[in-house]
């Protein structure tokens, strides 16, 4: 028995174990410079993680030596090591990835104006493949709406009179062309180009790639605008009835139906970063909607007339919104706070007809109104500006003739420097250097050259990863973040009868509270710090609290604490605080005395001193 215990004692617990003295120096020469690239490739090609050796993954990660709990420490170290490793791999991979080049227009001296460039100049400079983006389509179907797929390869157009077509922009192959014979107000692609939805006179219809009618969505009555949320598989529509409806295209269920109560609505757009829908109304309001709220999440009076167009900036995680109204103004808003527009200016056309706004992937804002489309670049339109003057123009493009008016749709092609304008005489694609994002991502399906297999696999994966509509919130990072502190009030078991009903048993209290109740906590400091913080944020206290803490005359928070204690109860905390106050008082006295008489205490000696009790200490 003793032998066993002696042996077991020799093997100390892990926390106290001595570090093994490995011949580190001998090995260091070999493992100092592992081939990063081969290591990163080997990991993804050969063995699963559990079977791999971990020798070549040495990274610097915090060790959390100050954390006593070994389990917690181990998991923290593991996590941070993992993070450090992936960051190292990432930094390694960034060199290998193709740099995302973008287009640009560079003026050589300050007197040159980029907006003087015409499309002909740009086409001449671009040449080759890029010049094919400049594409005029003369169509007779009336003012056209345009829409691209997520990867920018396919385009759908819908004319007011019922001419709907979808085609491949790279090869020029037409997938389908329909003459529906009734008013079509919008078109949108679903998960990819194999399905698209058209807002027709009465209902929304879904067609497949070849133009075969697949579904008639009777729930969406007289729709005007459509949006598809790709990660949630939701098709949203708004119509003349002013109802916003969400339909799940994977299950077919109508997920939510919101009555806006603001009349007919013809402006709908989505924030691609958090899947919130933005509606623009006749009374000048812009409202933000999620499926799980029956009322708008945000409601802003944006314009003094009907809102004609909204667009959300995809380049800065949906932080900025641009709106155009029939009052002839364009406004850029900061969506983090809604304290007025960041910048606003009046349209040259003076608000005759609808103005359209659209942000590109790289943050170029296109504003189409009257007979021209103006482009603005980012820093100038997002910096606060007081006057109503126009921001510096980047590019401008006049429509060929007055018969092209009105401009009904502006869409930037993702991953290309192309802006497609839908107008009364068809569509025209113009080149806007610097509008498109250069780097594509085939894992997300953001790939112009995606093949059939890749598309099919992405569709299945997208369905598996479908996010539930309940998770749409203004803050898209809400999922997985820490929960808000609970509203459970911690009733202290002080014995005051008032809070009996909400009292929590001792064993359910948090540890700090339990320590406090059992008198083991180091309360003097805690109270002290509390008092300090109370003084600091005095201004932020609610009126109730202020009322509670109102004092007459001279008083300190410690004394207030004591006053609240019952005198006949001997509480360890109160005793500690009393002694502390005594101590402070004597110290203060000593200080004053010191200031008065210098270092040496020169008290007046009195005849009565001899009767002083010496054993008071």
């Amino acid at each position: 028995m003793d032998a066993l215990i002696a042996k077991a004692d020799a093997a100390q617990p892990l926390s106290r174990k001595r570090k093994r003295t490995q011949p580190v120096n001998a090995k260091a020469g070999l493992s100092q410079t592992p081939d990063k690239t081969s290591a990163s490739i080997a990991k993804n090609t050969s063995l699963p993680k559990s079977l791999r050796s971990r020798n070549n993954e040495k990274v610097e990660a915090p060790q959390y030596r100050h954390i006593a709990n070994p389990k917690l420490r181990r998991s923290l170290v593991k996590t941070s090591t993992h993070i450090a490793q992936s960051q190292a791999l990432l930094s390694d991979a960034v060199d290998l990835l193709p740099s995302d080049e973008t287009g640009f227009v560079q003026a050589e001296d300050t007197m040159e104006r980029t907006w003087r460039l015409s499309q002909a100049d740009i086409v001449k400079e671009a040449g080759g493949e890029a010049a094919r983006g400049r594409l005029e389509m003369k169509l007779d179907g009336g003012p056209y709406k345009v829409r691209y797929t997520k990867n920018g390869r396919h385009m759908a157009i819908a004319g007011r009179t019922g001419h709907v077509a979808s085609f491949d922009t790279l090869t020029g192959a037409v997938h389908s062309e329909l003459q529906l014979g009734e008013t079509c107000s919008d078109v949108v692609f679903l998960q990819d180009h194999s399905f698209y939805a058209v807002a027709q006179q009465k209902y929304v219809f879904i067609y497949d790639r070849d133009g075969v009618e697949i579904h008639k969505l009777k729930a969406h009555v007289s729709p005007t605008r459509l949006e598809f949320l790709p990660y949630h598989w939701l098709l949203a529509s708004v119509g003349t009835g002013g109802y916003l409806k969400y339909q799940d295209t994977s299950t077919g269920q109508l997920v939510a139906e919101h009555r806006t109560a603001l009349g007919a609505c013809s402006v709908l757009t989505q924030n691609p970063q958090n899947a919130v829908l933005y509606l623009g109304h006749q009374n000048g309001c812009v409202t933000l909607w999620t499926p799980n709220l029956p009322h708008p999440a945000v409601k802003v009076l944006a314009h003094l007339g009907p809102v004609s167009s909204i667009s959300v900036d995809p380049s800065e995680s949906g932080r900025y919104m641009a709106t155009a109204g029939k009052d002839g103004s364009v406004k850029v808003w900061d969506c983090r706070n809604w304290k007025g527009a960041v910048r606003e200016w009046n349209l040259r056309s003076g608000g005759k007809g609808d103005a359209e706004v659209e942000w590109s992937q790289k943050g170029v804002l296109a504003v189409g109104s009257g007979g021209s489309v103006n482009m603005y670049t980012s820093p100038s339109i997002k910096t606060p500006h007081h006057s109503l003057s126009h921001p510096p123009l980047y590019l401008t493009h006049p429509l060929p003739s007055a018969s092209h008016r009105p401009i009904t749709s502006l869409r930037f092609a993702p991953f290309q420097d192309i802006l497609t304008i839908g107008h009364a005489r068809g569509t025209s694609g113009i080149l806007v250097p610097g509008a498109g994002e250069g780097g594509m991502d085939s894992g997300e399906g953001l790939d112009l050259y995606e093949g059939v297999k890749g598309r099919r696999e992405r569709e299945v994966r997208g369905l598996l990863d479908k996010i539930q509509p309940d998770l749409i919130t203004l803050d898209s990072e809400l999922v997985g973040s820490l929960a808000a502190p609970s509203k459970l009030t911690i009733g202290t078991t002080g014995g005051s009868g008032s809070s009996r009903a909400t009292e929590i048993p001792f064993s359910r209290l948090p540890r700090a509270e339990r320590l406090r109740v059992s008198g083991k906590a180091d309360l003097t400091e805690e109270v002290y710090s509390d008092a300090g913080s109370a003084n600091e944020n005095d201004g932020k206290k609610t009126t109730e609290e202020r009322e509670k803490k109102k004092m007459r005359g001279k008083g300190k928070s410690l004394k207030r604490y004591l006053r609240k204690q019952r005198k006949n109860v001997i509480d360890p905390t109160a005793v500690a605080i009393r002694s502390k106050i005594e101590k402070q008082k004597s110290e203060r006295k000593a200080e004053i005395r010191k200031a008065k008489y210098g270092d040496e205490p020169q008290e007046k000696s009195s005849a009565l001193d001899r009767f002083k009790r010496t054993s008071k200490e």
Binding site: M1, A3, L4, I5, K7, A8, D9, P48, K49, S50, L51, K71, V94, L97, P98, E101, T102, G103, F104, Q106, A107, E108, T114, L117, D121, A126, A130, G133, Y231, P272, N274, P314, S315, S317, Q416, D417, L431, P433, G438, G439, M440, D441, S442, E444, L446, D447, L448, Y449, G451, L464, Q468, S476, E477, G480, G495, P505, F506, S507, S518, G519
Partner: protein, 442 residues
């Protein structure tokens, strides 16, 4: 002169050059290109947790052959597939797990129930029963090699790994030698008058024995000194015990009070951890050879698999027809669990419910690992955690659990109130671990 550059993609770098080539992959690490990454990962984690539950089919098969309840199971130390079981009908069967066949059937090994069973070396088996005899069998023959007559009904037997000695438990612990017909020593705590229900040799220091008895005791003996070294009296009796295979000083006790306790024998004043989960008496327990988990079976008709160091939420196995579990065993490859129950069957279960048997390709294994790490990362999420944690329980077990919780809660509340109405500082809450041991004797 203005410089103009328009974005152009090179199709050849994005498409396969020849048919059959893999499509080139492009990546953009800008987080704006990957919206909802957290929400999507959560969905994936939820799916992974659900898949894990979907694949959780732990029952592998049943080994039949006994007429009455299975009382005891024993594994052979150096074989993966050989397992012996003894029953109330007096029969002993040696099973081959991989083929699910009987190697040996001894239908009348003992008169009355077989209470103890253990392997002695490669091809021999020791059994004891309530007929007071210990029998040594050669696996393969129907007649015992040797019969050791005892004086009392025997309750348990264990063979030393490295020598020819074995110990039996009756009213006292007796140590025998295979070559001698009488016990070579009798071990008992001086003042004890109890029935010993189980006895086990320490796996590393083989002279040390531990036993649990009906007097709510747990006793440690040393056969070199020939006496009982320590004794611990607990609140309730323990039914079975098992020494840890990796930490020689750790011992696991299956207690009548629905809990399992691990003790470090260097500190016997309190258990090192309490494992709560059973809703009836725990009757048997056995460590996995890795020492990271152990299995227990109890009167509540469930088998539970515990992670060492995690005293709650064990894996629960049950079937409709499995009755009270009297014996459990972890196989020597740590992948399977055996349970013998009152209904006369020995059941084989997987050690990890959702593990896939058979060959797993590297790609599949990587996917499984990814899913596991996802569930682990998102286990704090309400839904994911719920799916990963929840186990379906048979209704009697569920209601018993609820009733037990209610009782414990009311007991706790009563204690709270009592303390609140006594003078401050007079009574302090006693930690649960300190309540287990009544007295430690030596």
């Amino acid at each position: 002169m203005v410089k103009i550059s328009v974005l152009q993609h090179d199709p050849s770098s994005h498409t396969a050059t020849r048919p059959g080539d893999p499509t080139p992959v492009s990546r953009n690490l800008n987080p704006l290109m990957h919206p909802f990454s957290r929400a999507r990962e959560r969905t994936r984690a939820l799916n992974a947790a659900k898949m894990d539950r979907m694949f959780a089919i732990p029952f592998v098969g049943a080994l039949e052959g006994h007429v009455d309840a299975v009382e005891v199971l024993a594994k052979q130390g150096d074989s993966i597939s050989t397992v012996a079981s003894g029953s109330w009908d007096g029969g002993v069967i040696v099973h081959n797990l991989s083929q699910r066949t009987h190697i040996v059937r001894l239908p009348l090994a003992h008169k009355g129930k077989v209470t103890g069973l253990c392997f002695a070396g490669d091809s021999r088996l020791l059994s004891c029963g309530v007929d007071r005899n210990v029998k040594l069998w050669n696996i393969g023959s129907d007649e015992p090699l040797n019969v050791f007559p005892g004086k009392h009904a025997l309750n348990s037997i264990d063979h030393q790994r490295s020598s020819a000695m074995f110990a039996t438990a009756s009213t006292l612990v007796q140590v025998w030698d295979e070559t001698k017909s009488a016990p070579i020593s009798n071990l008992t705590f001086p003042t004890s008058t109890e029935t010993i229900s189980s006895v086990r040799f320490n796996l590393s220091e083989s002279s040390i024995l531990a036993s649990v008895g009906s007097d709510r005791t747990f006793t440690l003996y040393d056969i070199r000194t020939g006496k009982a070294e320590r004794r611990v009296v607990m609140q309730m009796r323990a039914n079975a015990l098992s020494w840890s295979p990796t930490f020689p000083t750790n011992i696991l006790l299956a207690s009548e009070d629905h809990n399992l306790y691990t003790f470090d024998i260097r500190r016997l004043d309190a258990p090192s951890l309490i494992y709560k989960g059973h809703v009836a008496a725990v009757v048997s327990c056995d460590w996995s050879p890795t020492g990271t988990e152990f299995v227990s079976g109890g009167w509540d008709r469930t088998v539970r698999i515990w992670q060492t160091g995690q005293g709650h939420s064990p894996e629960v196995y049950h079937t409709k027809r499995m009755q009270r579990v009297t014996s459990t065993l972890f196989t020597t490859d740590a992948r399977f669990v055996l349970s013998g129950s009152d209904d006369g069957n020995v059941r084989i279960w997987k050690g990890k419910a959702s593990e896939r048997l058979g060959i797993v390709t590297a790609r599949e294994r990587a996917a499984i690992e990814y899913r596991n790490s996802l569930v682990d990362r998102w286990k704090m999420d309400k839904e994911v955690g719920k799916v990963a944690r929840t186990r379906h329980l048979p209704k009697p077990v569920y209601t018993a659990n609820k009733l037990k919780n209610t009782m414990l809660e009311s007991r706790r509340v009563k204690e709270e109130r009592r303390r609140k109405h006594t003078r401050a500082g007079e009574s302090k809450p006693k930690p649960e671990r300190k309540k287990v041991v009544l007295v430690e004797q030596s």
